[in-house]
């Protein structure tokens, strides 16, 4: 067995509440344990499963959704897809769609895992309801794997049905909370690798020596010899227990066994787990089939019944095996009697599994294929027993120790239950079985069991196969539980009677007493038992105390000779209740013979405690014995006759007593049978209720799952809704939702600005609500159109007070199928857009207007310049210069974003055209004064003209020429002085040039100022004076 081939595979099953358990299991799981994990759940096929993603987030191991044929690798996690049945075949996972509604996928998978991998398996059951997994876990344990189930601590499992069912069936090695499982599994995996690896290296000797020690311990404590047990299996079981107890070395474990008798018991239980339980010990079942079953049916017709009881039926395999044999025999009969098989156990959860009758395929491996075909239906993974088997069986809870046994059974099959009970419990149970069987009934025990201690109750039919038959004509010391304690009202001890119906008046009594004392014959009063209750005086003649302990028995005290007759007469009277008499009885008194007459009659009540008066009367006087002999001879015969009579009476009484007794017993039996029958009916109803309960549980599980999913869908929907709501509010778009009747379904908050809607207006037609728009009639029509035709309408609407514009869209509200379910009206505030459009229009018009103006101005400049120019060259220079100056001015103003421009900037701009280095030829001095664009442009033109003139005629026409410009603010006016120097000689011009005229006009009209030209010989001096306030022309840029 090479170690790399046999890595551990853990099969983990869970249902409702499993997701959380899986997360807690995998989060701390090391990624190098060498184990592979395969997960099974109960999700139905139509559900999407996010389980691989959820688990993928908890662990670094690769988590895959299993596919058909995938090979299982160590340190990987595989998740079975919903609605599939999964098996492991030669290390590969195989998938088949699950069809049966009651399939047990966890059982199917774990059984196939056990079958394929044997002891290199771990079975783990986590939270879930129902009992899927119990059989699967059993299979793993049987093959020597380790089994775990989720035990509870404060944190789970959410549903404990599944783990509890397996725990109750006794097939779980470790019941742990999930948080403790991971560490144990990791430990186990580590040890497993070591052990498997070193198995070959391990010396066989020490292990088998250890085994011998264990055999001895087992023999001593439980009385069973396991030395003939299969070595491998024994070794595996021992190792599993060592694993559970977390003991590493065998000698330590042996020590543990010596000190802990509980561990011995647990090891013993483990050892008893068989491989499969259908037809366990096939030879025994063959004997049953051949020798026993036919005899059960012998002599029975359709109105009779065959009753079988299987106590300790656990998960039902044994019961169904018997049912198969019974049904097979029934099939051979023409008219079969009614067959009832009562299968009982104390564990309700195992019974639930049994009732379902569904087993994974590996459990049925030992059944012949003929029987499989006839009695089971299903597929190759999981089969369920057919109705004709199932109907024979009634499953119910019952304890052989606590509850009264069944009765009138033909066969009891109790295999591997008795060995779990101690000897004293067996002492009670086996007689109970004896009671429960009909005369000649059969008892079938397990291979390790015997009734040798009760040989008086059972005789062997086939000792080897453990088939026994009830011995009749014994009365088993049946200790019926619960009944022994309750005392019936027992008869109070005798002699405590008081006066019964004997009364007398006081005087009468005194007189009677006297007479009785003096004159009446001796007498006594006795009860039915012959005890004397009353003595008269002078009975000494007839009665004598008996030797030994004092008693009041008349018979014991009566003198010899009286006894026989006394007895006879008493009996007669007791029976007949009539007075009787015997005469001339010879009594020996003091060596003489006295003849006595005896009279007995009943007194007092007849019913309850009858009393009898016995009267002794002497007859004649005593005489000597010799005289008596003659009489005696006569009386001898009479004595013999009397004795014979007595004997006959006695016999008769015995007979009648026996008959009474038998009648009583019959009545008891009959009551018992009635009770039994009621009990069976109740058990039958109980079965049905159990089945319903199972169905309800199954529905409940589904509902639980669906509910969780619905809940998370609802949460998603809530979130989505909340998102939408927030989105709407964020967009600030007024939206109204109308349903197919154009009733308001809902609206966003901004809609309240357009319509007078408040929250209670949901449910009213939109057109009822007052709108603040100016066209209501159109809206109604538009809504109709959209709803009927399904097109979208979009147009601009205006508030009635004109304060806002909206782009209104009316859209059909489409359901997912595409049908129009309602209408959606949205309003997007486009006031800004409208205003911008208007503004844009204004601007465009302004632009147009200004451009026209500008062109006109250019035209005028051109015309004027042309008129004053001497030549085209002149014209060109002057014209282009002006145009350029205008452009520069505009540029300057534009660069200030049409804000204020300072005077020196204006100057500089113009100067630059005339000199590469303005500072050389220009001296500029003055405060920084801002001017609005309109005046700045005007000043620009003015300075240009001045400069152009200077260039043509003045200081700039000569290289040495200089110009100084200074300005200052005085009394609300700016005074600018332009002084040219070092230029050519200055003469007043002959005519005013266009430039001069332009300067004058500009300054006068546009600047509202004055200008004076001073043609000094040294150079032109111009003084410009304009009012200066910082007020702007309202319409800048008109140039």
């Amino acid at each position: 067995m090479p170690a790399e081939n046999q890595f551990l595979i853990a099969g983990v099953g869970a249902s409702a509440g499993g997701v959380e358990a899986f997360e807690r299991l995998f989060r701390p799981m090391p990624t190098d344990t060498g184990m592979a994990f395969v997960l099974m759940t109960h999700l139905a096929r139509q559900h999407e499963s996010a389980l691989p993603e959820i688990i993928g987030r908890c662990t670094k191991m690769p988590v895959l959704s299993a596919s058909d044929g995938i090979k299982v690798e160590p340190n990987h996690v595989y998740v079975c897809p919903p609605g599939q049945l999964m098996t492991l075949e030669q290390g590969q996972l195989r998938l088949r769609p699950s069809i049966a509604a009651d399939a047990k996928p966890i059982d199917v998978f774990l059984s196939s895992l056990a079958k394929d991998r044997g002891a290199a398996t771990v079975g783990i059951l986590l939270s879930g309801s129902g009992n899927d997994g119990t059989l699967g876990i059993k299979a793993i344990k049987e093959q020597g794997g380790l089994t775990l189930a989720q035990g509870s601590n404060g944190k789970g499992p959410m549903q404990s049905g599944m783990p509890d069912s397996a725990i109750a069936a006794g097939v779980v090695d470790l019941a742990l909370p999930v948080d403790e499982m991971t560490a144990r599994l990791a430990d186990f995996a580590r040890r497993f690798a070591d052990v498997e690896g070193s198995r070959i290296a391990e010396d066989g000797e020490p292990e088998s020596a250890g085994h011998h020690a264990i055999y001895r311990l087992l023999l001593n404590q439980v009385g069973h010899d396991f030395s003939g047990y299969k070595e491998n299996t024994f070794s595996r079981r021992v190792r599993r227990r060592m694993e559970v107890r977390q003991i590493v070395r065998l000698p330590q474990y042996i020590e543990c066994l010596r000190n802990d008798s509980e561990e011995v018991k647990l090891l013993f239980r483990d050892l008893l787990i068989g491989v499969t339980n259908f037809f366990r010990d096939p030879e025994a079942f063959a004997t049953l089939e051949k020798d026993v079953i036919p005899r059960l049916f012998e002599g029975k017709g359709a109105s009779d019944s065959v009753r079988v009881w299987v106590p300790g039926c656990a998960t039902g395999e044994e019961a169904y095996s018997l049912a198969i044999l019974l049904r097979e025999h029934m099939d051979t009969l023409n008219s079969a009697p009614k067959v009832q098989l009562f299968a009982t156990d104390i564990d309700e959860q195992s019974l639930a599994v049994a009732r379902a009758g569904r087993y994974p395929a590996p459990f049925l491996d030992d059944i012949t294929s003929r029987r499989l075909k006839r009695f089971f239906s299903g597929d190759e993974l999981s089969l369920v027993v057919n109705k004709d088997i199932r109907d024979l069986c009634i499953f119910s809870t019952h304890s052989v120790i606590r509850d009264p046994p069944f009765s009138r059974m033909d066969l009891i099959s109790c295999r591997n239950l008795l060995i779990y009970l101690g000897a004293d419990l067996q002492e009670r149970v086996i007689p109970a079985f004896h009671f429960a069987l009909r005369p000649g009934g059969y008892l079938f025990l397990g291979m390790s069991e015997n009734v040798s201690r009760h040989g008086d109750l059972f005789s062997p039919v086939d000792k080897k196969q453990r088939v026994f038959q009830r011995r009749d004509h014994v009365v088993a010391p049946l200790q019926l539980p619960l009944m022994a304690q309750h005392g019936r009202h027992s008869l109070p001890p005798s002699g405590m009677r008081q006066q019964h119906g004997v009364m007398a008046a006081d005087l009468r009594r005194a007189v009677d007493a006297r007479v009785a004392e003096r004159f009446t014959p001796a007498h006594v009063v006795v009860n039915r038992d012959g005890d004397i209750l009353h003595y008269s005086p002078r009975t000494g003649k007839y009665l004598e105390p008996a030797a030994g302990l004092p008693n009041r028995q008349l018979m014991a005290m009566a003198r010899r000779g009286l006894r026989l007759d006394l007895r006879a007469i008493l009996n007669e009277v007791m029976e007949t209740r009539q007075p009787a008499m015997r005469q001339h009885i010879a009594v020996e008194i003091d060596d003489r013979i006295q003849l006595v007459d005896l009279a007995v009659e009943p007194i007092g009540d007849h019913d309850a405690d009858p009393l009898f008066l016995v009267v002794f009367a002497d007859v004649g006087s005593p005489y000597v014995p010799s005289e008596h002999e003659a009489r005696e001879r006569n009386s001898d015969n009479r004595d013999v006759e009397r004795l014979e009579q007595d004997l006959r009476n006695t016999r008769e009484r015995l007979q009648s007593t026996v008959e009474e007794y038998e009648t009583a017993v019959e009545e008891m039996k009959s009551s018992n049978e009635e009770l039994q029958s009621m009990n069976e009916e109740l058990q039958s109803s109980n079965e049905e209720l159990e089945t319903s309960k199972e169905e309800l549980q199954s529905i409940n599980e589904e509902l639980h799952t669906v509910n969780s999913e619905l809940k998370s869908k609802v949460d998603e929907a809530d979130r989505a809704h909340s998102d939408l709501r927030n989105l709407f509010d964020a967009t600030g778009v007024a939206t109204v939702f109308l349903d197919e009747n154009l009733i308001i379904r809902s609206f966003t908050a901004p809609a309240a600005e357009i319509f007078n809607v408040i929250s209670i207006d949901r449910g009213r037609p939109l057109t009822d609500i007052v709108s603040r728009l100016d066209d209501k009639g159109d809206l109604k029509r538009d809504i109709r159109t959209v709803f009927e035709r399904g097109q979208t309408i979009e147009r601009r609407v205006q508030r009635a007070d004109g304060s806002a514009y909206y782009l209104m869209r009316v859209l059909p509200y489409r359901a997912s199928a595409g049908a129009t379910e309602g209408v959606l009206v949205t309003f997007v505030d486009v006031t800004g857009v409208v205003e911008a459009e208007a503004h844009l229009r204004t601007l465009v018009e302004e632009l147009n207007h200004r451009v026209r103006n500008m062109l006109t101005v250019v035209g005028v400049i051109a015309t004027q310049t042309l008129a004053k120019s001497a030549s085209p060259k002149d014209f060109r220079k002057a014209f282009l210069g002006r145009i350029e100056a205008m452009a520069k001015s505009y540029g300057l103003v534009a660069s200030e974003q049409w804000g204020d421009v300072s005077l020196d900037a204006i100057l500089m701009t113009e100067m630059q055209s005339y000199s590469g280095a303005p500072k050389e030829r220009f001296a500029i001095k003055g405060p920084s004064l801002p001017f609005d664009p309109k005046r700045a442009l005007t000043l620009g033109l003015v300075f240009h003209e001045l400069a152009a003139n200077a260039a043509k005629y003045g200081a700039l026409s000569k290289a040495k020429g200089r110009i100084a410009v200074t300005w200052a603010v005085k009394k609300g006016r700016v005074v600018v002085d332009w002084r040219e120097s070092d230029g050519p000689k200055v003469r007043p011009p002959q005519r005013r040039g266009f430039g001069t005229e332009l300067i004058e006009r500009q300054i006068k009209s546009a600047l509202d100022g004055e200008v004076r030209f001073d043609y000094r010989p040294g150079g032109l001096a111009v003084r410009i004076s304009i009012p200066y306030e910082k007020s702007y022309a309202p319409d800048p840029g008109k140039g």
């Binding site: 018009e845 332009l998 009209s1005 309202p1034």
Partner: protein, 133 residues
Amino acid sequence: MGGLAGRSILVVEDEMLLAMDIEELVRAAGCTVIGPVGTVSDAMRKLREVRPDGAILDVNISGEMVFPIADALHEAGIPFMIVTGYTREHVPERHRERPFLQKPYKAAVLVAMLGEMLGNAQRGPNSSHTKSA
């Protein structure tokens, strides 16, 4: 052009160069020029001082609209024409029928329009206005 001689024309235009140009044209046509004035208040003042025979108005006068002047002229029965860079839509409806000339204009056109305006006016206040060319 006989009707033009000696007429006085009020020129309302705030752009100095254009005012200059119009002034020259009007003078060349034989009229006298009142102004040019560059603000609405200046124009009002002039009107109080003197009664022109006609007027040439630009629409946007230093940021103000010229229409109060137009109204005053209309009240007084003085003909006027509008010379502007704006389109006719910008003229209020009551003055929309007045002679309208868009800049840039041909000098001859302006003069002809002026003559027509004055000629019509001569014929009486009820004669119909003609549209601009």
